[in-house]
Symmetry: C5
Subunit: 88 residues, 5 copies
């Protein structure tokens, strides 16, 4: 999984129907040589801007969306890193 | 997902039969250290040159093409970012 | 998908049985910050050295090989870009 | 697979239910030009901080979690490299 | 697929049971801008140190392992490049 910080909300009114109702956020990878990479993640565990999150990508991301195996999403927040967990 | 700007149309007359009828566009990743990467995306939600789009890649991309699970496509436009959504 | 130029043939006599009969070519990614990356692609639509091609990777690549879902190939030519399509 | 060194534990109390009970660790890729990249891995074979580990990523990672095919994890420790195996 | 040169054996006594009996080797990508990247590959076609090999990654890699679809491996040697095939 990637560690990223959520830096903004992403709004896309015209999108695949199956994505309606999903919340999208802009995330920036933190730590290590991959730091600074941007990706858009779906969030269903109410993470907020500024949170450090665990992001699963690829087919594993869709497993987060329960029975909705057919949603064209490839990056999802699967956890919010505890504030006192000082890793970088 | 990646955020990219659509910069051109891509024409490939000789291609896999299952790709016939699909529209292909050249996209450039924007924002973060991955900016500048080029990829070709399939588009079925009528995005246009200059639009900023959300792109799903890998097996998740095929989920955008409904029952056509067997199309050899690995990057698809899944949303068009609102003009007033100022993220970068 | 990636855009790449085919630069050579690749010969591998000792290989997985399921790959017998498949043609392999060396491709170089063109355009954008990913340009210059090399990968080996399977080709079943008779592309040739010098052609610019569309390459699908990952599980989507296997979808190009019809009912042979079980072939251990992760990059396949899915289209040949038209000569007069001037993208870079 | 990637070779990485485990450098820390990662705590995320708020996470997907299916991840409860799984141990997460911060890993740093070692060796070759990819060295220095950080990723978070799930560990079920009791690896510890400082160990050099083999990490599988993508859908292959979920295969490590036995019947739990539906866990949204994309990187798992699949082996601990022997101390006297001097590769870099 | 990647082209890589096998540079060492990798020993990991403590590993997933399903990996027992599999031979692991350290490979270095050769050619193009990705050259120098290290990865560990499973080998079942008796490749040796110094060989240039074709490596499939991701879910395609598991297809090389016949009916063992459930082995948590994400990179496998699928061919040995002929000695007189002078590509770089």
């Amino acid at each position: 999984m990637l560690i990223a910080r959520l830096i903004d909300n992403v709004w896309a009114t015209r999108k695949a129907e199956s994505l309606n109702g999903l919340k999208f956020m802009l995330a920036e990878v933190i730590g290590g040589t991959g730091a600074g990479q941007h990706l858009v993640v779906a969030d269903i565990i109410s993470a907020g801007i500024g949170d450090r999150v665990l992001v699963s990508t690829g087919s594993s991301a869709r497993k987060m969306l329960d029975e909705c195996e057919d949603i064209p999403v490839d990056a999802v927040v699967v956890g919010i890193i505890d504030e006192d967990c000082n890793i970088e």
